[in-house]
Amino acid sequence: MVRGARLSVKASPQQDFAPAARTFRFSQAMNTAHAHAPVAWPPDAQYGAATPGKIGMWIFLVSDAFSFGGLLIAQGILRSRSPEWVQPGEPALNIPFTAALTFLLISSSFTNVMAWSAAATGRRRAAATLLAVTALGGLLFLAGQAFEWTTLVHEGLVFGRSPRASTFYVITGFHGLHVLVGVAYILTVLGQYSRGRATAHHVELLGLYWCFVDFVWIFVFSLVYLMP
């Protein structure tokens, strides 16, 4: 573990994030070109040990939740206004298959949480393996969704032909995009982590994003698929 270099910082006026008298402990890695271990921020009166990275991720996720909220509200309004939501000739959604996809996503959240705790306790190989399994779960989910879409288009649920079809593809597509970005994010962190350039903190932030993808799917599954 790189010893922190004790550094006394004169807080500039606009950066009054801590009393000037208090010293900050910067890890020496901060000065090297690429590897930078998390800065040991002093516990904050409001946010405790939550790092700026974590608070930033949370604020991003809340704003992203608004995006999904807007789409789901739009679907709810369209649906409450149309007496016939399922148009004649349109197929029903494959609920058992989607329930299996839901369980797959819950399982990949679980492996992600396991990776996170393995990384936090220094079990690097286990953490890397679990991250890979999590990415695989995401890829399987995307494959399942691609299969579902092609089947539905084949059976007559075509984007643009009805509010139901359009909202279905926009909402599940927007979520699928998040899963795709999530898989890329996992593989990136996995690569960095395997080379010792990402730390448990990076795995933690990734974990927040990936669990958020599952968090959103719970509402998509209930409101888009299951709603009678």
Partner: protein, 85 residues
């Protein structure tokens, strides 16, 4: 591991509720929304560790989410009422 099990069971319950027939539609809608909210709460509190964060961070995250919920309820109810007229 317990949270994982509970999430799995709740998903099965949701699946069963959605397939129930002969029950008033509003009751099914209410049950599905309640199940979704409880699963989401489990994920946020335990998988995303909100439970171990400070009260202020929890407030920072959860308080803004109340707005779209209220907004959605009002708009959808209003739209449904107008359509029923």
């Amino acid at each position: 591991m317990i949270v994982f099990g509970v999430l799995g069971v709740l998903t099965l319950v949701e699946f069963g509720v959605a397939r129930t027939t002969g029950v008033a539609r509003p009751a099914i809608v209410l049950a599905l929304v309640a199940l979704a909210l409880s699963k989401a709460a489990l994920i946020a509190l335990f998988y995303m560790h909100l439970r171990f964060e400070t009260r202020i961070l929890r407030l920072t995250v959860l308080a803004p989410l109340v707005a779209p919920a209220i907004y959605g309820l009002v708009l959808i109810a209003e739209s449904a009422a107008r359509a029923a007229r």
